[in-house]
Point group: C2
Chain length 452, copies 2
């Protein structure tokens, strides 16, 4: 066997240390619980898609990782495969492929890695974990699912030990109708220009509107005025009306956005804001669009985005309109870890370490461990029959809160809480740990909806 | 937006339908619960490794998928990355890379996809899910971890709704010591020859022993005699002794195997058999080796394999010996699905569908759903205010057991078990479903340890 040299991390391919992975697992469990409470079924798709499928969205072509078998030659089809860069495109393909076997409306959650060959930077990875929910229906999708999605995300992210969230909602029909009513020649280009508001100045957006969307300077000014509207209640309607533009599509978008804002105010006041600057770069959205920011960490950008899409999964005359949203789990956690904002009360699942007085009686310690595990208490047995002080220090280093000392023939054992030093006589068939919950908390200056 | 054409499945990249994925998720949850009960912490590694790392085991080089960014050029380092083909090699690399930050002995479980470019066949995929546990220590790893691993797997697989399992255990020292004591020139080659017993006839194995390991015909015959020994108790010792070979390494191997067989007989009688034919092809194993077969489905081959390795993670003078085992989740489920051996009582997480009398009162139905979810009952609201008969049929098709009919102003609602037809008056703030557990069962002629 050859020896193996030390390795350095690969830029853009994050790997958490065990305590961080405990937090990630805890976050995924909570997300999943909420998704299942809303009736979303678990689903996974393969990691690869045919390359032509991945390249349908031209703007992402430079991000795709292409696969090749090292010893190829006999199967040229392999050369046409790439790793998926999101979970929406594979899901749309899965729906088309399995439409005859699915029940519609079809609700699924999907928690998987995705890959993009982008240059890595803070919170931008080449390999990252996404947690998506989508609802798709055959032919037509009722609007009420666009109302439901942000409420689910509010519950899901609200159950996490992260800073409070704010969901920003807009509607493509509202913007497009406004641009049409305004008389802008290329409303699609106008959307893409406004979408850059995060990255460039208002003046630069105005220039773009003139250059790419064919807007006059007055029209560009009106677009910027629309994008500045942001209200927690339905007063955005009056603010839009005050701009003096009328269009049937604009009315439809306003009505839809009002329904979402009203439902969110009943379900979860303060969760949602109508923010008419939100456009989403991807051109497949056709109705409501969502972004989500962490309060106090707005600099991180959106950590959960999505929207309504009518034309992503179509095949001939078959249409499967949908609405969905994607939590950027790696992105969110990477940024919060980087800011030192999260900490966990335990770094291992183990609750009890059973000490081993000497190797001859290891079997006795194994029996105590088996009795504790049989009642659901995560337990490990000491690696060696070292002095008890050393075994206790092992538990401390691992972050295990209790150490169990087996009794000698016939006598009961004792269990020590090594955080408090308290030690009590205990029976492995009956004892339960007074305090064994994993707690994950937001530390530092971060505010939180909940400390888990 | 372009329309999207229908797709066919990619051979070797399995995707489950939602009811199958429910079963897979259930299986993963149970595996995880057992692993955590034994104090294993969750871990994930990146999907990619440097190619030179993946190619250290020459025999697998033809299986590796190499990555390339579609628009490469500025970062040649990317060209040296491939997808991992198992979880052991990445884990060994992770341990070396993070040794200064880990506590030893380090126990982790890892449930992730792996990829191999092999020609697909029944139960052999190009993308597959593995569930691994490993314990590694610095410098030296106590033998008792080799005893613990099969007990954990017995508990983990025994908690699943699958046929009974049988773990076959052998010890590399036993075989190697036997070959050395016998005077075979190349004991390593002898191991590899015996490892082919599953695929070729005893006569062909004997030929291989002569040709590749330099054995005489008498020696080859003795090797075959050793490989035929298989006992549930420790009587294999006498059977080996009867072959008349002596060697210190053989004695060590016999002693270790005895300890494992005895511990397993106390913990879980019938779980384990000492089977001296088991060799494992990979050359990094140095002590105990494990394979696992489903009783009644032996034709599937091993669905869970592993062993002790002393030299997988080494760097200069640093050594991290380990022992681990890997459950082939996709392989096991793919074969059982293919045999029609598993079925689930539910195909969605949803327990209750709240009916919608008309769209004007959807908000009332939403409130009922929120009240049920607040008490942990997975609930969805009917997609449309169709006639109640149609809403009930929707629940039937989805596999949702209960339909809730909201009361009109002030009056209580009613809930119907659509399997029995029973309908009762109920309060959303208090009602709990009498029967909402997901049950997964082994069907057909398969015997099972447990119906989940």
């Amino acid at each position: 066997m050859q020896s193996q040299s030390k390795r350095h991390p690969l830029s853009g391919f994050p790997e958490w240390l065990p305590p961080q992975r405990m937090i990630e697992q805890y976050v995924l469990d909570r997300l999943r619980t909420t998704f299942e409470l809303y009736g979303f079924a678990p689903l996974e798709t393969r990691a690869v898609e045919p390359l032509d499928q991945l390249l349908r969205k031209g703007e992402t072509s430079n991000e795709v990782y292409v696969l090749r078998r090292l010893q190829a030659g006999n199967d040229p089809a392999d050369d046409a495969l790439g790793l998926h860069f999101d979970l929406t495109v594979p899901f749309a393909r899965y729906v088309l492929e399995n439409a005859g076997k699915l029940q519609f409306p079809f609700r699924r959650y999907q928690i998987q890695k995705a890959w993009r060959g982008e240059r890595p930077q803070e919170g931008r990875y080449r390999e990252f974990l996404q947690a998506d929910i989508d609802v798709v229906d055959r032919d037509a999708l009722p609007f009420h699912y666009e109302v439901e999605i942000p409420l689910i995300i509010g519950d899901a992210l609200g159950s996490l030990p992260i800073p409070q969230i704010r969901i920003q909602v807009n509607n493509r029909k509202l913007c497009q109708g406004f641009y049409i009513g305004l008389g802008i020649p290329d409303p699609e280009a106008a959307l893409r220009a406004v979408d850059k508001s995060d990255k460039i100045s208002p003046a630069a957006v105005a220039d773009l509107l003139v250059q790419t969307a064919g807007a006059t300077e007055a029209q560009a000014k009106a677009c910027l005025a629309l994008a500045e509207i942001s209200t927690e209640d339905t007063s955005f309607v009056d603010a839009v009306r005050a701009l003096g533009v009328t269009d049937p599509l604009l009315d439809e978008g306003l009505d839809e956005l009002v329904r979402i804002v009203e439902a969110a105010r009943e379900h979860n006041p303060g969760l949602l804001v109508a923010d008419l600057r939100i456009a989403r770069g991807l051109d497949y959205y056709t109705g409501t669009v969502y972004e989500t920011r962490l309060v106090g960490y707005e600099r991180f950008g959106s950590i959960c985005s999505g929207g309504r899409y009518d034309n992503l999964a179509t095949s001939g005359s078959d249409r499967y309109p949908g609405v969905g949203i994607s939590v950027g789990v790696s992105r969110m956690l990477g940024l919060l870890f980087g800011a030192g904002a999260l900490s966990a009360s335990r770094s291992v699942p183990t609750c009890v370490l059973v000490a081993v007085p000497d190797e001859e009686t290891r079997t006795e310690s194994d029996r105590v461990a088996a009795a504790l595990r049989a009642r659901g208490i995560p337990t490990e047995v000491s690696p060696s029959a070292a002095k008890f002080g050393k075994q206790i220090r092992y538990a401390e280093r691992r972050g295990i809160p209790y150490v169990w000392f087996p009794g000698t023939e016939g006598s009961a054992g004792e269990v020590k809480d090594i955080r408090s030093g308290d030690q009590v006589i205990a029976d492995a068939a009956a004892w339960t740990p007074p305090d064994d919950d994993l707690r994950v908390t937001v530390t530092g200056s971060a505010q939180t909806g909940l400390s888990g």
